[in-house]
Symmetry: C2
């Protein structure tokens, strides 16, 4: 028998195969979200079998389309698509959905499952990741494409739901995508009018098409999300818009959540719970699906299989790269370096030399200013470095000579993110995920709050995303408690995998930047001062020790240390002055600068014990919530922390430092009382 | 001479007086933001001299209009208005703008300056506060107004800028206000097309009127923001819309930032820096202002003075209240209680009785379920309790029997916030600020990140805002690391003034709720389990001790404690089992339950030392980032923390607990190794 199904019947079969993979996996796990995969199955078929450019045999191929499942709870839809397309995700993994160690966790995880481009689940951020990816594509295209040589040319596709659209970050991301005219960004909205609490009419009344038009998006309205040909036409139209650089596109797909389930389709009851045997039986009956659980008919596999066409698309691109290399050999080498994520040859030597230069200069600067200089130095060596500020460019000091402004023509490297901290951070993640660029973003440290979950996602995905957070304490002065971080330093330090740097001078600031750009397994956040910080002198050994996160900046003299003063940032200078007084009183006093506690934690115990000898008293000093420091005082016989356990005040910085007790005298007195 | 100025000349004089108060104060402070006050001066004159219903002699009058300066950096505009209107804010305070201890901090602070309705500065949140205020007004009107007795009837006015509109929270707030049809909310947009980085065209291309229409707002476009009569007409139109319950209104006022400054008006240069003597002189010249610094002409004072009309408006309302009291005495008494913020007479006795009842029941429940029951019990006694979930009602368990759904008719008490954690939290603050209601909001603990700065603002303003945060650890299971909080408990504990509760059973959950509703000086956050927690038995003394935040749940027997196990939430049961094993091995072991560390910190040292005796070993156990616990281990000779210092995994909860070492055996072994 070799009966060919009609295209329509074949499409329906494919959509139902996706539905039943989700139904069966959720049922096996007794946990998960079948409603979205069942509702978006036809949309997925249209995109994945007719448009998506990808090669399952090479999930890292640079010019592949990027696909983002912003409504990440519908993970089984993506796992089904990856499996059927030919990614290294066997059916057995789908059977182990949401089980320990499987490749199919509850929400898609980047770096864990081949073909998953970003970790999603926290709603709205997938869209913002996609904005970053589309921005990266556009920037790399502007940078590398040449007349008759198009090396970078792919789309970024996003699936999103009502939840993503309700989140504020969707506003920030979509507004930014509009003004940047990211035309190759195409989002498909699962307009099912159901969220977890039920029919959205009671809490979500937006006219979403009008909203997105207001952002400068091209909006294709009223597409039947269960009509594969209609979706296909809409996608074609969107691609034409993209070709004409007419702005990003939102395709509004009217769908029914859980479509196929006779008694739960169109209700919140199908969103996040297994169907159960009876409803599964009824759904099989309704959809005419008579296969056993996890069975995929061969026709379906044939339709989805992307290995052959993917290989051909990739080969075509490889030919393009070869031609490019012949015509533009240096640019080709640079492109390949860039997309590999490797820094230029010899970069470490250069970075060390830069650091020595800064040390030799010995300048007294605000660390935000030192950061700006560091950015300028690194940007010359690293054309992949792009970034900017959430509308605080001249406060955060993020621009540099010759950077140019990133506008809709993608010609510059400095990004005016607008007042969009969360959207910025999530887009930075998207840029880092895309590859080829090394992104940073800036705001005031206190507004790290706004971006906090995206900073967490940088750490969870181990991305090289860099955060420049200035105005790092009450030292910012008159703007007052709404702008003065108190709890931020210690609470950011608690995000696993995030390196939080609080440098004490220009030298540590350069060292922090050097570490951040060379780090390969996670994000870094630099907390920087508004006010000037005096240079601290160091020998060559100490200069190298900064990267260890905590080191002896000034050794006790006239005997072994009786007390160790531990400080960060602006408070290091205070500790140094206090040390002078204590030493003058005959108390041997060591000062430990601890610009990055997590880097210090990664050092061998021998290093940590050498820096903080178990036997002697310790005083930690930081103009922030103090509780986190007890971890570093636990080994000491007597210890104290000087910190701030209440909100700040509006006044000139000097008066605040006196008010909150950040004086050398208090540090010295505190140490004396311990002895 | 008794020449009367024309109305127009008088208005101009008033606007210029506001301008120069801002110019002079910023110049005196050498710090601050003159651009916004200079740009919004006419808008302020139109609203404050012709529409705002308020009585400077009684800033807490319940039926006053609420005014919110969402672009809070323009604080000097508000201080000028408050001073000139007759609030207790003398000119001397304006001269001490941004100085230590003045009533005029850099950003407006609630509870600090009479007439300041909310603390603003973190952009976008003022709008969301205003949404909460308007919701409170509408709900109280629905609850208390009677035919022919209108007790609650006021507007909520918001000034906002481009920065507020770029922030994601503006989307959440405006979308929610639209669907809730908060018609008495009227926002005036300072459309000056300048943000800190310069002309917004490069980063903010939204068609804002279309965007707000998409939310269901009434939008009045293209108003000349320097034409007081035009603004007045727009406000009248907005009030008519409000009277017709036709949705909230956005008035788009085209303005020039820093208007009046010959060389800096219309540029970012005027946004956040003093003008300096030369430009001030030029501005005086340009505006014909020949008064010395801080001088206010008498005609200006007369125009702004709101004491007489305010007293009359308040008297009219007082008559209304008297008539209401005559017709509806019980309701009037309840209204007065409610707006005073006092709980019902005898509430404490009732709350204690409820707690005893829960203790007697001794049920094993998930603490989220126990919280739902607690809400139900308290909601019966406290009609002011309103709240709900950010689209996780059946996961957070926030509804209760008979609550009703809050919809555009304001008839219910349970609020479906939609997927809008940040907007929810900032609106909760607005409800608490408005008075008459006791608001709560819920989401998953991990998504406290999204709302974090608004939670901080609850604490900074010392508001009785309650956060219900469920799925509090890896114990939530299969949803995986994006949904499993790790760093959240310790990092929320670092927000000064926030009480973070993590109850170990239904009894502690009720105690946490009792504390939260009775707290008068700040917010509370309840971190609750998805999974069942066994009941712990307590005597009457222990029952009362829960409110102390940390107490001995199980005393060591057969001798003084050799080790103290400190635990919270789900880990308390683990600690109890570990204690059984240790005791069986002859090791006297105490278990301390510490549901609220900040409440424990407020106890006298004698209590704290009695609970955690300095001499004996301690083990802290919590399924969260461990570093915060060292604060409570510092006094111990030997100590350990069992926590989680990496991200979670997707798997059934039991397997995760085993994987991450949350077993009684590990707790016991850790204790044994210390001895």
């Amino acid at each position: 028998m070799n009966m060919r199904l009609s295209q329509t019947a074949q499409d329906t079969l494919c959509a139902n195969a996706l539905r039943f993979l989700a139904i069966d996996a959720v049922e096996a796990a007794q946990s998960g979200h079948p409603g979205m995969p069942m509702g978006m199955a036809e949309i997925a078929v249209a995109l994945w079998t007719r448009h998506l450019k990808h090669d399952p045999a090479d999930p890292a191929w640079p010019d592949r389309d990027r696909f983002v499942l912003s409504n990440g709870h519908g993970s089984m839809l993506l796992y089904g698509l990856l499996h059927l397309s030919g990614y290294d995700l066997p059916l057995d993994e789908l059977k182990r959905f949401r089980q320990l160690g499987s490749k199919t966790p509850g929400h898609p995880e980047y770096g864990h499952t081949p073909g998953v481009e970003t970790t999603t689940g926290p709603l709205g951020q997938g869209l913002a990741n996609a904005v970053g990816m589309a921005l990266a594509e556009k920037r790399l295209a502007a940078e590398f494409n040449k007349p008759e040589h198009t090396l970078v040319n792919h789309h970024t596709w996003v699936f999103l739901g009502d939840g993503c659209l309700m989140e504020g970050v969707s506003h920030e991301a979509a507004s930014f995508a509009g003004v940047q005219r990211l035309s190759k960004l195409i989002a498909l909205w699962d307009d099912n009018r159901i969220s977890i609490d039920g029919d959205v009419a009671g809490w979500f009344g937006d006219h979403t098409p009008a909203r997105f038009r207001a952002y400068g998006w091209n909006v294709i309205e009223a597409v039947d999300g269960h009509d594969i040909d209609a979706i296909d036409r809409a996608i074609r139209e969107a691609r034409t818009h993209a070709d004409n650089d007419a702005g990003p596109t939102l395709i509004c797909c009217r769908t029914t959540i859980g479509r196929g389930s006779p008694s739960r389709a169109g209700t919140a009851g199908i969103h996040g719970a297994p169907l159960g045997p009876d409803e599964i039986a009824a759904t099989r009956e309704a959809l005419g699906w008579d296969h056993p659980p996890f069975h995929v008919p061969q026709e379906v596999r044939t339709s989805f299989d992307a290995l052959r066409i993917g290989a051909s698309q990739r080969a075509t691109w490889q030919q393009r790269l070869d031609a490019y290399r012949a015509a533009w050999p240096e640019e080709a080498a640079e492109f390949e370096r860039r997309v590999s994520g490797k820094l230029p040859t010899g970069f470490k030597v250069l970075a060390d030399a830069i650091l020595r230069g800064v040390n030799n200069e010995g300048a007294t600067l605000a660390s935000r200013k030192a950061s700006q200089q560091a950015i300028g130095r690194l940007a010359r060596a690293l054309p992949e470095l792009i970034g900017g500020s959430a509308d605080l460019t001249h406060s955060n000091l993020t621009d540099w000579p010759g950077c140019g402004a990133m506008r809709a023509d993608a010609s510059g490297r400095h990004i005016n993110w607008g007042v969009r901290e969360f959207g910025m951070a999530a887009a930075l993640n998207g840029i880092a995920l895309h590859g080829g660029l090394l992104p940073f973003g800036a705001t005031f440290l206190v507004f790290s709050d706004y971006a906090r979950n995206a900073i967490r996602m940088s750490a969870l995905m181990r991305l090289r995303t860099i955060y420049v957070m200035t105005h790092d304490s009450i030292g910012l002065g008159e703007d007052g408690p709404t702008h003065q971080p108190i709890e931020h330093l210690p609470s950011l330090r608690q995000i696993p995998g995030l390196d939080v740097w609080r440098p004490c001078d220009a030298v540590e600031t350069q060292a922090a930047w050097n570490s951040a750009v060379q780090r390969t397994d996670g994000p870094s956040l630099l907390a920087l001062s508004r006010q000037n910080l005096p240079h601290q002198s160091r020998d060559t050994g100490q200069l190298g020790d900064i990267a260890r996160g905590g080191y002896v900046l000034a050794e006790a003299t006239h005997g072994p240390a009786a007390v160790v003063l531990i400080a960060t940032g602006a408070e290091v200078a205070l500790a140094m002055t206090a040390r002078d007084r204590l030493q003058a009183d005959g108390i041997p006093t060591r000062v430990v600068s601890m610009p990055c506690a997590s880097a210090f934690d990664r050092q061998p115990a021998a290093w940590r014990d050498a820096v903080l000898p178990p036997g002697c008293a310790r005083v930690a000093v930081e103009a922030a919530q103090p509780d986190g420091w007890w971890k570093y005082l636990a080994g000491a016989p007597r210890a104290a922390v000087i910190g701030i356990d209440r909100f700040g005040e509006s006044a000139p910085a000097d008066e605040l430092n006196a008010l909150f007790g950040f004086t050398a005298e208090r540090v010295a007195d505190t140490a004396r009382r311990l002895l």
